[in-house]
Structure formats: structure tokens, C-alpha cells
């Protein structure tokens, strides 16, 4: 459904864009219908840039992104099927308008002919799907709602369209632990409707909770990808191992094994640098066997 092929993104910096910095280097992957894929990386890994390119908010420097075989073209038709939600719920809503304006915008652009009563019903259904009480959220300003409620409103907004793919970029990182998991569960439920979710996060435990497949990014390249249980259960790339060992866990002491020596091929990321270590499990390391 969604296919990235050798996607590279360079940002021009300096006066008159004299220099350029590569944020994403030769990334290729695919998302199939009804699949939750998580994109894991630290700051500077290019994960958000990839999300924005898929959403057509930033152009691709080279390579291609196709959706159902057609190249991404930012526009009404594309956004009917692909939507995104971002990290900061408070900045996702225009503070001078009521929060439910995000729904009217959808109506104006996509369903101008739907009668008002029916539209209200659709909103109510959509809100119930994300476990929001219409009375509590409609007619309020963004600052009168909590972060968790706002993020759910955005999911409800996406559900009003017949979307096939939702790009969720760090959507829980500003939420409290007690509400974060509910938003994650909602994402997982979308799958049951046949939706695909691209879940972008820096938090390994969240990615692990949700996704069927995981991609680990480092400095703009994919270093490892495969089924989540394989990537987390049997990480092959030194970087993935290092990340996993650094995650604080409740019931186990911090892994005190000396930090993994960085593999000499660690910069060999990119589409052609990936080796299929086992079926469906790719790693950007040419000497898997010896480098741990």
C-alpha cells in the first residue's frame, strides 16, 4: 500500500541554502493494509522527517514514495486516505478557535453536501469510537481540554475520512502515563478496522507494545527492521542492542553489560546496506556474526 523506495531528504542550510544536510538517507520500506509499523529512533534519526514526507508536508529530495502505486501528491484526494497526528496536542489546535473546528474543516473540504444533522451524528459516532463524550469536548476551546482528549479528537477527526493510513508522530510523548496507554490502545483498535498505522516514537517500550513490525533508524538510515518480536527479542545490530539495554525497565536491573562495541559497518545503512539475516528480518551490518 505505502511504499518508500530509496528515499533521501536533504535540508538546505546557511545563507541562500548553500550547504545541505542529509536528514534521511536511502530509506526503503513498505506498509501493508491493516498493519501497525513503528519507526523507532532517537532525536536526529530522521523519523519525523520520514513521517512528514509520507504526509506530503515536506518534499522528497530523491527516491520515491508511492501510495497504492501512485506517487504522493499532497492534496485533498490524498488526505482523504492518509492522515497524520503530531506530538504536541496544544500546537495542533488553533488556540483562537474552538477545538471542534477541526471537524468543520473536514466537512467544508470533503463533505459539504452532507446535511447538518447527519454530520453531527457522524461526529458523535466518531467521538464514541475514541471514547470521548461529545458533551465534554464539543464547543470547548483547546486550552479547556486535556492533552489526551485533544489527541483523541484528532484521531476522531481522521476517522471521519475514509483513511487507510494514519501517521502518528510521537502522539503520546506529551501525555501522562495514566492516559498514554489509552491512546495507544485506540491506535491498536484502528487496525481492526483495516487501517494501517505508522507509529513514530523514540520510546522503545511503546513501539514494542503496539507494532507488528519495527524499523530502527539511526542518523537517517534504517539499521534494522523486521517483526517486532524478532527485532526486540533478538536484536542483531549493535545500535539496536545498545538502545534496548538503555531502556529502563521496572523489574530488571539496568543491563550492565558493557556498552556494545560499535560495529565497524554501522554507517553502512541504506537500502543496499541491509542484509536479510532471517526471513523478514533485515539488518544493516555486513558482519552480523562477528561484530558482537
Amino acid at each position: 500500500m505505502l511504499r518508500l523506495h530509496d528515499v533521501t531528504k536533504e535540508f538546505r542550510v546557511g545563507a541562500f541554502g548553500g550547504k545541505s544536510v542529509a536528514a534521511v538517507k536511502g530509506v526503503s520500506f513498505e506498509v501493508v493494509p491493516g498493519e501497525v509499523v513503528s519507526l523507532i529512533g532517537e532525536s536526529g534519526s530522521g523519523k519525523s522527517t520520514i513521517g512528514r514526507m509520507i504526509l506530503g508536508l515536506n518534499p522528497v529530495t530523491s527516491g520515491s514514495i508511492t501510495f497504492d502505486g501512485l506517487p504522493v501528491r499532497a492534496g485533498k484526494e490524498y488526505y482523504r486516505r492518509v492522515q497524520g497526528i503530531f506530538q504536541d496536542p496544544f500546537s495542533s489546535f488553533n488556540p483562537v478557535f474552538k477545538a471542534d473546528r477541526v471537524f468543520s474543516m473536514i466537512k467544508e473540504a470533503y463533505y459539504p453536501s452532507v446535511p447538518e444533522a447527519e454530520w453531527r451524528e457522524r461526529i458523535a459516532t466518531s467521538l464514541r469510537d475514541v471514547r470521548l463524550n461529545p458533551d465534554q469536548v464539543l464547543g470547548k476551546y483547546p486550552h479547556q481540554l486535556s492533552g489526551g482528549q485533544l489527541q483523541r479528537l484528532l484521531i476522531a477527526r481522521a476517522l471521519l475520512l475514509d483513511i487507510k493510513l494514519l501517521v502518528a508522530d510521537e502522539i503520546t510523548s506529551m501525555l501522562d502515563a495514566s492516559t498514554r496507554i489509552d491512546v495507544l490502545n485506540l491506535l491498536a483498535e484502528l487496525k481492526a478496522r483495516g487501517l494501517s498505522v505508522l507509529y513514530i516514537t523514540h520510546d522503545l517500550s511503546l513501539g514494542n507494545y503496539l507494532a507488528e513490525r519495527t524499523l530502527v533508524l539511526r542518523r537517517g538510515s534504517v539499521v534494522e527492521m523486521g517483526l517486532t518480536e524478532r527485532v526486540f527479542g533478538d536484536p542483531l545490530h549493535p545500535y539496536t542492542r545498545e538502545l534496548l539495554s538503555a531502556v529502563p525497565r521496572l523489574h530488571t536491573a539496568w543491563d550492565d553489560a558493557a556498552p556494545v562495541e560499535t560495529c565497524v559497518y554501522h554507517d553502512r545503512g541504506g537500502s543496499d546496506g541491509l542484509v536479510e539475516a532471517e526471513p523478514g528480518h533485515f539488518v544493516a551490518c555486513a558482519r552480523l556474526a562477528t561484530c558482537s
Binding site: D176, D203, H251
Partner: protein, 313 residues
């Protein structure tokens, strides 16, 4: 006991009235103890950290005392607190990036800071401590912009503990960092205690799992009050307060998958602290709340060092 906080009440003044950010907090902190302070946003954990070192203009102490090493801290007297800051109580702010003046080299900044506190710079000691957290001495001749987030954070840690304060408050120091840097910063904090640079520490965070790795004792706050305080392992393995239990249940861990075990969050949201309802403040969200919860639950010591504020615990 190096720190003893009794019945501390701190309110925020707003146009709509007083927000009771801290509503009668009492706890102690022993010598060499690291206390992890966790809770949701708005529970008062940052207010507590701030109250112990510098109250901002809108904050007002309504009652209670703070005693550090036998001396009462004049927490609402900004001038008088100056004598204690850096020497007795020190703070590592959440955004170390903005705590450093961008136009000064680190060396000059440290020298000026120490001079303003009437202390001379012991360069050898500074470099030794920097080495301990993995910062090369060259860092001193760089500008803050040339350092990465983790390096800045560690630099600020070294600076703020240079005068060996008795109490160090680390306010969300790791939240803006990547996992791998976060681990290094957390380790460095532990190292400070071992080397005796700080006697005790309050580690404010929203990350329960991370606290567990650093803290000896964990204190869970809810809506301006203490919910539960116990040794770190006890909080994680045998929590008594329903809020702590639910919070732990909502925590995804590496290895827990949606497909295998569906975690649940805590329904509802914390009460407004502008006019908090009477009785237990967790009552509305609590699955086991009963009649008696209409009255304020006292903080009881259910087991040695295990304090819980719940009728049902």
C-alpha cells in the same frame, strides 16, 4: 535525617483564586538517600522541587516548614535563601540547554558563578568531576551551542554540585534526552552520591521505570498530596495505594505487547486544585473507593518506611 518537610502548603496565586499546588506535604529524606518523586503533570512534584530552592513570584507558602541539616530553610524569603543556594541546596533544571548563557564560554561562566558565591575555582577538582561524568577538559573552552544536549546536561550537573550541596534537586533532567544519553546522565547522578558531592537527592520525574533504577525511595504524589512513599522495590513490587497500582499497570514495558496483554490507563483526570473536592482526591478515579473516602485519608505508616494515604490500603 538530612531533610524534613512538615505539612508544607504552597499555593499559586491566580486571578481566579489560589491553586493549592502543595496541600500539606510531609516527608523526610535521610543522609545519602535518593528520593524519586513521581506523579502526573500538575500533581505538584515540580512545585515541591521549586519550593525547596526558589519560589517564583506567584508562589506563596501558606504553612509548614522545611528543615535541612537542622536549620530551617527560609523558603519564602528569596534573599535569605541565597545563602543556602548552591552551598546547601542546588538544582539541576529541566532545560539545561537554556540554563547556560549562550554568549559565554563554559570556563568563564563557571568562574563568574563561583565568584558570585564567594568561592574560588578549583580547576583540578572541576576537571576531575568533569572526567567522572565523561566530559573532557576541553569542554571548558567551548560555547554551550557546541555541546550536545546530554553534554550540556552533564555540564550543568557538574556546575550545580561544585560546592558540594547537601541536597540536590534534579527536576525532570532526563525527559528531554534520548534513551542512551538518559542512562549516562542517570548513572552520573548516582556517581555524585557515591563520591559524596551531594548528600541526598530528590529526583523529580514522570518516568516510574527510570526512577526505579536511581532512587532508594519513591514518593508518588497525586493532586498536591502524598499518595504513597516506600523503598523503590516495594513501590514497584508491592504497592498499596490504588493509584500507584493503576499507574504501574498502565506502564508498557519492552516485552509487553498489545496483542498479548492489553494495558489500561486510568479513566478520568485529576481534580482541579483551584477548589479541590473534600476527601480523598483520587476518589473519582479510584476503582475501590467507598464511603469513608469522603473524608481525607491520613498518611499512615503501614510498614516500616512505607507510608500510604488511603483508607483501603
Amino acid at each position: 535525617m538530612s531533610l524534613q518537610v512538615s505539612e508544607l502548603k504552597v499555593h499559586y496565586r491566580t486571578l481566579k483564586g489560589d491553586v493549592r499546588a502543595l496541600d500539606g506535604m510531609s516527608f523526610g529524606l535521610g543522609d545519602g538517600e535518593i528520593l524519586g518523586l513521581v506523579g502526573e503533570s500538575g500533581c505538584g512534584k515540580s512545585t515541591l522541587g521549586k519550593s525547596l530552592i526558589r519560589m517564583d513570584g506567584r508562589m506563596r507558602r501558606v504553612g509548614g516548614t522545611v528543615v535541612l541539616d537542622g536549620r530551617e530553610l527560609p523558603i519564602d524569603d528569596d534573599r535569605a535563601m541565597n545563602e543556602f543556594r548552591f552551598r546547601e541546596v542546588s538544582l539541576i533544571p529541566q532545560y539545561a540547554m537554556s540554563a547556560l548563557n549562550p554568549t559565554r564560554k563554559i570556563r568563564r561562566m563557571v568562574t563568574e558563578l563561583l565568584r558570585s558565591r564567594g568561592a574560588a575555582l578549583d580547576l583540578a577538582e572541576l576537571e576531575r568531576r568533569m572526567a567522572q561524568v565523561g566530559l573532557p577538559a576541553e569542554v571548558l573552552d567551548r560555547y554551550p551551542i557546541e555541546l550536545s544536549g546530554g553534554m550540556k546536561q552533564r555540564m550543568v550537573m557538574v556546575i550545580s554540585t561544585l560546592l558540594d550541596p547537601s541536597l540536590l534537586i534534579a527536576d525532570e533532567v532526563t525527559s528531554a534526552l534520548d534513551v542512551s544519553t538518559q542512562k549516562a546522565v542517570a548513572r552520573a547522578l548516582l556517581g555524585f552520591r557515591e563520591s559524596g558531592y551531594v548528600k541526598s537527592m530528590i529526583f523529580v520525574t514522570h518516568d516510574l521505570a527510570l526512577t526505579h533504577h536511581i532512587a532508594d525511595t519513591i514518593m508518588v504524589m497525586y493532586a498536591g498530596r502524598l499518595a504513597e512513599k516506600a523503598p523503590a522495590d516495594v513501590i514497584v513490587k508491592a504497592p498499596r495505594h490504588p493509584y500507584t497500582k493503576l499507574l504501574l499497570d498502565a506502564l508498557p514495558e519492552v516485552g509487553v505487547r498489545y496483542a498479548d496483554r492489553r494495558l489500561e490507563g486510568i479513566a478520568g483526570s485529576p481534580p482541579s486544585l483551584l477548589n479541590p473536592p473534600a476527601g480523598c482526591r483520587f476518589r473519582d478515579r479510584c476503582p475501590i473507593a467507598g464511603e469513608e473516602c469522603a473524608e481525607d485519608p491520613p498518611v499512615a505508616e503501614l510498614a516500616p518506611d512505607h507510608h500510604v494515604a488511603c483508607w483501603k490500603a
